[in-house]
């Protein structure tokens, strides 16, 4: 799931300086689950902004709202009156939810109350770790279900590099070398020989080599959509050592 953290209060306060009626809008899905977008966090953020504003002699009003998913227009429609009553929105969603507001409410300023961190999981309470970079061409069938693009500091396809020592990555003693984990896991799975094959040069078109990405599910449509991004096609490596 998408993980996020709050932006600094002072920074948010600067953003909303020109506005007098500010809606703090949360999202119950990803950011709600990682405890930066739910009802409680919205209430706390609004209270803190209110306090800071009063302390500075301001007279802003802060309203609060939470939608099920900020990234879906139907849910935003449900909060339309709340949004339209404000003159700016501080979003406690991820970057997708924030932009959904910007797209759906063309005249409404929207400001990020969160920094979108990564796609990850929470291995233990209070710890959030990256697991996926959404590169568009999953290769973990060859790496024991563990992703070296997301979890190797050098995104190596044929690791480990020479900096892997005692199971740790060269960038930090706190970070396990994902390639050590891959080797260990392939050994346990009896698939170590798979790692003898060279993973060839990658087609990055599914990642960031084309600009903003889109894909179409034709089974869900009767007419072609109005495109706003480059449509991804199944990966077909051209030339090179694939």
């Amino acid at each position: 799931m998408i993980k996020a953290t709050h932006k600094r209060l002072e920074r948010i306060n600067e953003m909303i300086a020109p506005h007098s009626e500010v809606l703090v809008l949360g999202c119950e899905t990803c950011t709600g689950i990682c405890l930066v977008g739910g009802e409680k966090e919205v209430a706390r953020m609004a209270a803190n902004l209110r306090l800071l504003n009063r302390k500075n002699g301001g007279k802003k009003t802060f309203t609060e709202g939470v939608v099920r998913r900020q990234c879906e227009m139907e849910f935003l429609d449900g909060a339309a009156s709340l949004i339209n009553d404000a003159d700016a929105v501080v979003s406690l969603a991820c970057g997708v939810g924030m932009q959904a507001i910007a797209e759906h409410f063309p005249n409404m300023p929207v400001y990020p109350g969160n920094n979108t961190a990564f796609l990850g999981l929470s291995p233990e309470l209070g710890l959030f770790s990256e697991r996926c970079v959404a590169c568009g061409d999953c290769l973990i069938d060859r790496t024991g279900g563990l992703c070296p693009i997301a979890r190797c500091a050098k995104h190596l396809f044929n690791g480990p590099c020479g900096g892997s020592v005692a199971g740790k990555c060269e960038v930090s003693p706190d970070v396990p070398c994902i390639w050590q984990m891959i080797v260990d896991r392939m050994m346990r799975l009896g698939q170590l020989s798979k790692l003898e094959d060279i993973k060839g040069i990658r087609n990055w078109k599914t990642n960031d080599a084309v600009g903003p990405r889109a894909y179409i599910r034709e089974d869900l449509r009767s007419t072609p959509p109005k495109l706003d991004s480059v449509v991804m096609k199944p990966v077909a490596p051209k030339g090179g050592a694939a």
Binding site: A153, K154, H155, L156, F157, N158, G159, P160, C161, G162, G163, S164, V165, A166, G167, E170, V171, C177, Q180, V183, D184, L195, E196, I198, K199, G200, I201, R202, W204, K238, G239, G240, A241
Partner: protein, 324 residues
């Protein structure tokens, strides 16, 4: 090439003739003055079969390896161009390789590159469009098929002697040999290893290499870093990724320095002396290990010691090779 060589460089000829090869590292300056590179080239050219020009080593910005190689050519030294995957994508790397070949560079070393975290621009974004094994594949394709990664043809000749690095002291230990095999399969002609201080561990690794028959498929040059102070040994032990310096080495250097007492000059002299002694021992020991076809000296900031060390190691004069 028509003469049967891949690039016909001096390094390739020495190794092809079954002679013990010697390479050394030349670190380019953090600036624009060409003289330090030329001077190092002048001093080392007759002592070494090729001189590695590092590519922004430890992620510190320096004069680029391509220019460094060109400067070495100017003084008649044989360059070996290091290329890391950290800073350039496939377009830039292939372009640099074309440029290097056009300037007469024939030896290349394919590396992942130290993480930018260690360098002087830790906030930089890294590239890693391709990894070091894919870089070897790229150079091999450029040489043998005369094609770019995209499949388009390259005009002109593309002679290249392709090298790679391997670190026998990194983990997982057993898998390092598998990774070496992958590098050979990708097209590596020679290997320069990370610095060897733990000779028994290196020998164990070499045995695994030989058991797999890999020593017959690639030339392995053992890496040696001459050290001159206990501080440098300690620094490498704690701060240089991938280098394993046993405590005994640090202690040994410290004990030698201590003989100088409070006299700083004397201390440094004893340190240098011990460092050279240690280097000579290491060279002698790795020479005896089956499958080792040469040494690669990385005397970072102490390049002037290299000819003297090689002389004492009995590796000079370098054997003659046929011209052309």
């Amino acid at each position: 090439m028509s003469n049967g060589y891949k690039a016909g460089t001096r390094l390739e000829k020495i190794l092809a003739a079954g002679k013990f090869a010697v390479t050394a590292e030349v670190g380019p300056p953090k600036g624009t003055d060409p003289e330090p590179v030329r001077k190092k080239g002048e001093k080392m050219k007759s002592a070494c079969d090729a001189l590695n020009v590092t590519d922004n080593q430890t992620a510190i910005v320096r004069l680029c390896s391509l220019a460094g190689c060109a400067l070495l050519k100017q003084v008649g030294a044989e360059p070996l161009m290091q290329i890391v995957c950290r800073d350039r994508n496939r377009i830039a790397i292939q372009s640099d390789v074309l440029g290097a070949i056009s300037l007469g560079v024939g030896n290349f070393l394919c590396l992942s590159g130290d993480h930018q975290k260690f360098g002087n621009h830790p906030t930089a974004k890294n590239v890693f469009d391709i990894d070091s094994i894919q870089l070897i594949q790229t150079l091999k394709m450029m040489r043998d098929e005369k094609k770019f990664i995209c499949g388009e043809d390259i005009s002109g000749n593309t002679p290249m002697f392709i090298g790679a690095a391997e670190n026998p002291f990194a983990d997982p230990f057993e898998f390092r040999v598998v990774r070496l095999a992958k590098k050979i399969k990708a097209g590596a002609d020679f290997i320069q290893t990370q610095a060897v201080y733990d000779v028994p561990k290196f020998a164990r690794w070499m045995k695994m290499v030989c058991d797999r028959g890999l020593d017959k498929q690639v030339h392995i040059l053992a890496g040696v870093i001459p050290i001159r102070t206990s501080g440098a040994a300690r620094y490498m032990q704690t701060s240089v990724p991938g280098v394993a310096v046993p405590d005994e080495i640090v202690k040994r250097m410290k004990a030698a320095e201590d003989k100088g007492g409070a006299d700083k000059k004397l201390k440094a002299e004893y340190g240098r002396e011990e460092g050279i002694k240690l280097t000579l021992e290491l060279i002698e020991q790795v020479k005896q290990i089956p499958g080792v076809h040469g040494v690669h000296l990385m005397a970072v900031g102490w390049e002037e010691a290299v000819p003297g060390i090689l002389e004492k190691a009995g590796l000079l004069p370098r054997p003659a090779v046929e011209a052309g």
